[in-house]
């Protein structure tokens, strides 16, 4: 047990070093991309093309295969950023700061997708593009938080300083995530309660639920690929004056 733990620890420490991570990322990027494309496309094609239509909403409900995974991912990315922020604040790990920096635009993007697709879905089912309901409003606030984090980081010249400033914001903003998660239960609102719950069985028939699960999985795979992709650029641009970058990246 102790042995396993120390191996994990060593692996984590090794991954925390930018050159090591860059080498790992470059070699595994094609694999990550392949996996992401397969699962993502499988889920979307299954969901959009082959799952049965809904008895009440008809085919429009298929937006769920885009909307729900993006919303789940948007919240997960924020939690992920807050955790890296905490790590970067306490242990000053360099890679944690870079992680926040490359995850923030992805989080903002997925929040935007969730908002836009939700708005389209709302237009057809509720009859309005937008309502000021607790779920929607708190998701919009989350988008602003992502924007604040991106804005603050880009305004600070010194990148290590920027990392620490941004981790403060990331940690502060994490309180918004449980509010979004719980808003549907606390305030009875227009937005329907979560389809996904860990505690009870899904209130969705299996041949619609399974493609949704695959979609969520596919979106997570895609996120891992996109994060690795972004992190490579981040590492090279921050360490471009180091000798290992000159050797590996520029090949001299």
């Amino acid at each position: 047990m102790n042995r396993v733990w120390s191996r994990i620890k060593n692996w984590l420490i090794a991954m925390g070093s930018p050159p090591h991570f860059y080498r790992w990322a470059t070699s595994s990027l094609p694999w990550l991309a392949g996996l992401a494309v397969i699962v993502f496309c499988a889920g979307l094609i299954w969901g959009l093309g082959f799952s049965p239509t809904d008895y009440k909403q008809g085919d429009v409900y298929r937006i769920i295969y885009i909307h729900v995974p993006s919303a789940i991912l948007a919240e997960s990315i924020y939690i992920f950023m807050a955790i890296s922020g905490f790590i970067s604040m306490v242990w000053r790990a360099k890679i944690a700061g870079m992680l926040i920096n490359s995850a923030a635009p992805l989080g903002a993007g997925f929040t935007l997708i969730a908002l836009l697709t939700g708005s389209i879905w709302g237009k057809t089912t509720w009859g309005t593009w937008w309502v000021w309901d607790a779920r929607l409003t708190s998701t919009l606030i989350m988008f602003f938080l992502y924007a604040a984090i991106i804005g603050l980081h880009s305004s600070i010249e010194n990148k290590t300083k920027g990392d620490r400033a941004v981790s403060i914001l990331a940690v502060l903003g994490v309180v918004i995530v449980p509010i979004i998660k719980k808003s549907v239960d606390w305030w009875q609102t227009l937005h329907q309660p979560s389809t996904f719950t860990l505690t009870s069985s899904p209130s969705m028939s299996p041949d619609m639920y399974l493609p949704l699960l695959v979609c969520v999985l596919g979106f997570y795979c895609l996120f891992i690929f996109m994060l690795t992709n972004g992190l490579r650029a981040e590492i090279i641009s921050r360490e471009r004056d180091k000798s290992w970058v000159k050797k590996q990246f520029f090949k001299y």
Partner: protein, 226 residues
Amino acid sequence: MTNRDSTLDWFMLVLRRDLTLSFRRSATYITPLIFFLIVVTFFPLALGPSQSLLSSMAAGIIWISALLSSLLAVEGIFSEDFRDGTLDQYFVSSEPVFVLIFAKVLCHWLVCGAPIILASVLSSVFLYLPSGVLFALIISLLLGTLFMSLLGALGAALSLGRSAILSAIIVLPFSIPTLLMGTAIMSAAINQQDYSGFISIMGAMLAIGIPGLCLLTVEAILLNYE
């Protein structure tokens, strides 16, 4: 620094020093007041002087103006002390710095928040706010401006030496829960419903926010010493 001095003594010392300094300079408490009154005046000019329209929007207008003016006022809270080295003294003292930072924020709230609340009573007449909800307005603004001062201090620390608009953009998204709670109190009061639940939630936000935000502010100030 002797061991006899407790942290509370230091807290009072910082509070008294800051209060004296800000009373000596009248701009610190007059500027946010004037800003508040000007912003409030804009609304009847832009929306038209219709009494029913204004009275239905009065609570929101007053809340937004108070939020913006207390946020703008807190902008320079650390810049002077950072320049003349007072902040350095906080860090070399053996006292917990976040307590001293809270003293500064508290002083700021006393000096800027109080005039804004007085002015909001005045502007509630301008905007035809129903007079029965004045108590709710004052209570909600008291709690709300304190939270805004805390948030504004964090923004000021993060953007020390940078543009003021940056600190506003950082802090504004985080201030939305306060705004929502404040306006929820007001709409409950206008509809003659029980609003004590919302006040408890605002209190809870402050209970977490006072130590939490002060600690984060200390982290943010430390950034400027690297």
